[in-house]
């Protein structure tokens, strides 16, 4: 199968900021992403869990974007502008994709 190099960017961010993050990266030209739910976690601000929660505060989501290598910097800059002052983790992994014309 014909595979092409790409980058998988995973952003774990506070739920109340989800909309702002997605709007920001969309404006930066990244129109492909997928949002995964998160059950709980732990970090410098302690352990937390979504169980029984009603408020978006105290929850997180994981956003996965697969982008061409040359666009990763643009994406990271946009994401960082939102994440900077907030709780969140950004990681980038090398990957390969089918149908590269889509990214």
């Amino acid at each position: 199968m014909q595979m092409n190099d790409a980058k998988r960017v995973e952003i774990i961010i506070e739920a109340p900021l989800e909309r702002r993050l997605l709007d920001t990266i969309s404006e930066a030209g990244v129109t492909g992403f997928t949002v995964l739910p998160v059950l709980g976690g732990s970090g410098r601000s302690g352990r937390w869990s979504r169980e029984g929660q009603v408020s978006a505060a105290g929850g997180m989501v994981a956003v996965v974007c697969i982008v061409r290598p040359e666009r990763v910097d643009q994406l990271l800059k946009a994401a960082f502008a939102v994440v900077e002052r907030h709780i969140g983790v950004v990681s980038v992994t090398d990957c390969q994709v089918l149908r590269a014309e889509r990214f």
Partner: protein, 325 residues
């Protein structure tokens, strides 16, 4: 005095308060008992819809006893003023930074709809009426406190300003929209509408409230377990004193507004209660430097149970004493 004690005693052995206690104890003991997030959200949608609708239907039935507009303005004013008082108290009673204090203060200016709902259940069991539009007052009091908190934080050089996006998020937040929307539907469809869905939103209401409070107990207990360090004696004292201060401020306002006994009790409850849904989310966006475990623990872990167990009976008894049962 006798009334207060009897209302309190009756209240403490109600299924509502005990369900909360069960959740609290289970979480403290690290039981695996938990309510799925989706179920908790569904319960809260039910409660908001039901309480909003009933408020609107009551307005349709009895008309606007007294002036809705005056009550709304008074509620908004309280929601602006209470954070300032709370901020002052926090700076005196605790060592919280200005930013943390501003965030906490915002929570106390806003309201907790479950506290409101629990109070209406107690009023109902004592057969005390209240103005249906108090639901609209509750909705009106959700947001102004957020503005006040950001202003307090800005004075300390922190936090975001209320930009357009934030205004939209705060004013169109799900719980406000649902509460107001259901209120309007209730007001428009009136008695006839209420009769159509009564066996859904009236009869099972208290039972649903029990399950929701079980869940809140679980969340509060988990929070308390995680965040025991936050609870300096000063902060703890604040979280017990502040609701009493809020209620004390609301009482003369209620009398000036010429509210009924039930309405006065509810205005005290609203002023005494602290938000744990809308304000925390807004604070994460606009005041990320503030430590969420502080405001969540104080609001949900201390003030909420205090109001549920002791506060509400006190406010109701006081209103009964001053305004007649």
């Amino acid at each position: 005095m006798e009334t207060i004690l009897s209302v309190m005693a009756q209240n403490l052995v109600s299924p509502i308060v005990l369900s909360f206690a069960l959740g609290l104890l289970a979480a403290m003991a690290r039981s695996s008992l938990s309510v799925p997030e989706a179920a908790a959200k569904a319960l809260s949608i039910y409660l908001l819809f039901a309480i909003g609708f009933k408020g609107g239907a009551s307005v349709a039935a009895h008309g606007l006893e007294g002036s809705l507009v005056a009550a709304l303005i008074a509620g908004i004013a309280l929601s602006f003023v209470i954070p300032v008082i709370a901020f002052g108290l926090l700076r005196v009673m605790t060592r919280l930074s200005a930013v943390d204090a501003a965030a906490v203060a915002g929570h106390y200016g806003s309201i907790s709809i479950v506290t409101f709902v629990s109070a209406t259940a107690i009023l109902a069991s004592r057969a005390i009426d209240y103005e249906g539009y108090m639901v609209a007052v509750a909705a009106a009091m959700e947001a102004p406190a957020i503005v006040a908190a950001l202003w307090l934080a800005a004075r300390a050089g922190a936090g975001a300003r209320m930009d357009r996006e934030l205004w939209r998020e705060v004013l169109l937040n799900g719980s406000i929209v649902l509460l107001i929307g259901a209120f309007v539907i209730g007001a428009v469809t009136g008695e006839r509408g209420l009769k159509e869905i009564e066996s859904f939103i009236v009869s099972p209401f208290k039972g649903v409230l029990c399950l929701f409070l079980l869940d809140m107990g679980l969340v509060a207990g988990r929070g308390l377990r995680q965040a025991r360090s936050v609870l300096s004696p000063g902060a703890f004292a604040f979280a017990v004193l502040m609701p009493l201060a809020g209620a004390a401020l609301a009482l003369p306002v209620a009398i000036m507004l010429d509210l009924s006994t039930g309405g006065a009790a509810l205005l005290m409850v609203l002023s005494a209660s602290a938000s744990y849904i809308a304000v925390p989310a807004a604070m994460r966006v606009a005041l990320p430097e503030a430590n969420p475990s502080i405001y969540l623990t104080l609001s949900l872990g201390v003030t909420f149970p205090f109001n549920l167990a002791l506060g509400i009976p006190i406010y109701v008894a006081l209103a009964e004493f001053l305004l007649g049962a």
